[in-house]
């Protein structure tokens, strides 16, 4: 399969993530959309890694797997972000009993 189909798929997922993050009002769903953006990047990185395998693997086999290592780092960082983000959302829910981000307008004055 050509690389362009992978690019189309991850670009589509990425755009769904962006549109969701910008339009949805529920903090948890916004958060899920951001995760979708990160995962579309993971998909793209693995696809590119496989693409480079055929090109440069003969010269530098170690380089072509760099992207797959990168994916693991993205997963770890995303997990760290989830733990902090959910804690922040819970903290807000305790104070306001809502996870609606329309609520976030107190600072605008």
């Amino acid at each position: 399969m050509e690389i362009k189909w992978y690019i189309f798929l991850s670009a589509a997922l990425f755009c769904i993530g962006i549109i969701g993050a910008l339009t949805r009002r529920n903090a948890i769903i916004v958060f899920m959309c951001i995760e979708l953006m990160l995962n579309s990047v993971n998909l793209l990185l693995v696809a590119f890694s496989k693409m480079h395998m055929s090109g440069i693997a003969a010269k530098a086999p170690a380089l072509a797997t760099d992207a797959q290592l990168f994916v693991f780092f993205i997963m770890v960082v995303a997990a760290a972000e989830v733990s902090v983000g959910l804690a922040i959302i819970v903290m807000m829910y305790r104070n306001t009993h809502s996870v609606d981000i329309n609520f976030l307008n107190r600072l605008k004055n």
Partner: protein, 462 residues
């Protein structure tokens, strides 16, 4: 390397120390001691004594620029701890955790000033931001703090997603299949589509992180909502570290094809300068005014990215000292005020002459009046932009914006010296003598750098 390792280790020590420290005043001293150790180790590494020598597959590169910036950032953090140690204790019950998180941020700062691979750029920026989300929300019962923290978190995670997409496209378009930024040099030719998309996405994501203009909208809200002590840290050291990462990335990887992306930076710089300065004029609260002024100062620092030459690098280091010290000093005074509006400063010159005098020096330095460090920093930036040779109008715009900034900075000076304290307002605050001496020391550094900028700049060529 020693700054990265030691600050991470000291962060862990502080975190576990929270179990053992009985009194809330103890963590401050541990934090200051740790910071002095890290600063010493970093200066030793700068002079060639390597405590840790770890092979990093060329993912990290410790050059003079990065190490020098680390020294500057650690020194400013030391001043920040000394000035604000007691105010950090007042934020909440988890004092040593706050210090631990600041050490983790410093670890991220050290990584993002020495990365040589896009992976390390991503990790550095994330290690820098995630503890900040927590610090922003550390005033747990305050709704404004909650809101600021959620907003900062959502914006930060969103821009991380954009940055990662940019990195993925750069990797895909790069025939060598490498994440190392010095292997991305692509020469003068037309850019492949994937690289162009990658560069645009990276510019957008980094502009989010340093709060440059079309992507600055989160900044005032977050800086306003966060506890003032942590705003001081976020708006100075972390923001400047973002710029160091920005210029490092764009100089080492896309420096040779600058003509193809310069227009983008020019638009962002001009918008940042105009929006930051014009909005700051209308602010009533000094805290919010300083948030907008940090956007305006970011516009000046973006000139370094526009110029991308040696003068720009010297200027960026000088700017980071001048801007960080002046803002940290101002915020330290602001934390102790009862009233954050400009009226709250009325008559401060009579009630607290030392505070008012040092605040005046900080404000003059932020404006860029000669004989202060801020003037030299702005001068270097403008000189660098002129040496670049393109877009002369941008320099004129920057000078006009610096003139506009005098209006809102001087409004505070005017309130302090030429207005009577309003009825019922009090300047009852706790100002111990060491705090005053530290403020005078900080102001003295700013004046000294205003006369001899070489004290900071020359170290780049050590």
């Amino acid at each position: 390397m020693s700054a990265i390792i030691l600050s991470a280790v000291w962060g862990v020590i502080m975190m576990f120390g929270g179990v053992f420290f009985k009194k809330a005043s103890v963590p401050k001293y541990w934090a200051i001691a740790g910071l002095i150790i890290i600063l010493t180790a970093n200066i030793l590494e700068f002079t060639g004594v390597k405590i840790f020598d770890i092979y990093s597959e060329n993912m990290l590169r410790f050059d003079n620029f990065g190490l020098h910036f680390n020294t500057v950032a650690l020194f400013c953090t030391l001043i920040y701890f000394l000035l604000n140690g007691r105010d950090i204790e007042k934020v909440g019950n988890h004092v040593s955790e706050y210090f631990a998180l600041i050490f983790f941020v410093l670890c991220g700062v050290a990584i993002s000033s020495s990365f040589n691979s896009l992976l390390m750029l991503f990790l550095g920026i994330e290690i820098m931001s995630i503890p900040l989300y927590i610090l922003t929300g550390s005033d747990k019962l305050n709704l404004k703090s909650n809101e600021a923290s959620l907003k900062y978190f959502l914006m930060g995670a969103f821009s991380t997603g954009i940055m990662l997409m940019g990195i993925a496209f750069l990797y895909g378009g790069n025939a060598l299949g490498s994440f190392n930024i010095d292997m991305m040099q692509l020469g003068q030719g037309a850019l492949p589509d994937m690289i162009a998309v990658g560069i645009v996405l990276l510019v957008v994501a980094m502009s989010f992180k340093v709060s440059a203009a079309p992507f600055h909208f989160w900044t005032p809200d977050v800086y306003d909502g966060a506890p003032t002590v942590f705003t001081s840290f976020m708006a100075t050291i972390v923001k400047v570290a973002g710029f160091i990462a920005f210029i490092r990335l764009f100089q080492s990887s896309f420096g040779t094809m600058q003509s193809q992306w310069q227009t983008l930076i020019v638009i962002i710089t001009a918008a940042t300068l105009l929006i930051g300065n014009l909005t700051a004029v209308f602010q009533q609260s000094v805290k919010r005014m300083l948030a907008y002024s940090s956007i305006a100062q970011a516009g000046f620092m973006l000139l370094a990215l526009f110029a991308l030459n040696d003068t720009a690098k010297e200027g960026l280091i000088l700017y980071s000292v001048a801007y960080s010290l002046a803002s940290i000093g101002l915020f330290a005074i602001l934390v102790r005020m009862n009233d954050y509006t400009i009226e709250g400063f009325n008559g401060l010159g009579k009630t607290h002459p030392v505070l008012a005098f040092t605040a005046t020096i900080f404000l003059l330095s932020l404006t860029g009046i000669p004989l202060t460090a801020g003037f030299n920093a702005k001068f270097y930036m403008l000189l660098a932009a002129l040496q670049n040779g393109h877009q002369f109008w941008l320099v004129i715009l920057a000078v006009i914006c610096a003139a506009i900034s005098a209006y809102y900075y001087f409004k505070v000076i005017q309130a302090m010296y030429f207005k009577e304290p309003s009825e019922g307002a009090s300047h009852q605050m706790d100002v111990p003598p060491p705090f005053k001496w530290l403020l005078i020391f900080t102001a003295a550094i700013i004046l000294l750098l205003g006369v001899m900028p070489g004290l900071v700049v020359d170290w780049l060529y050590y």
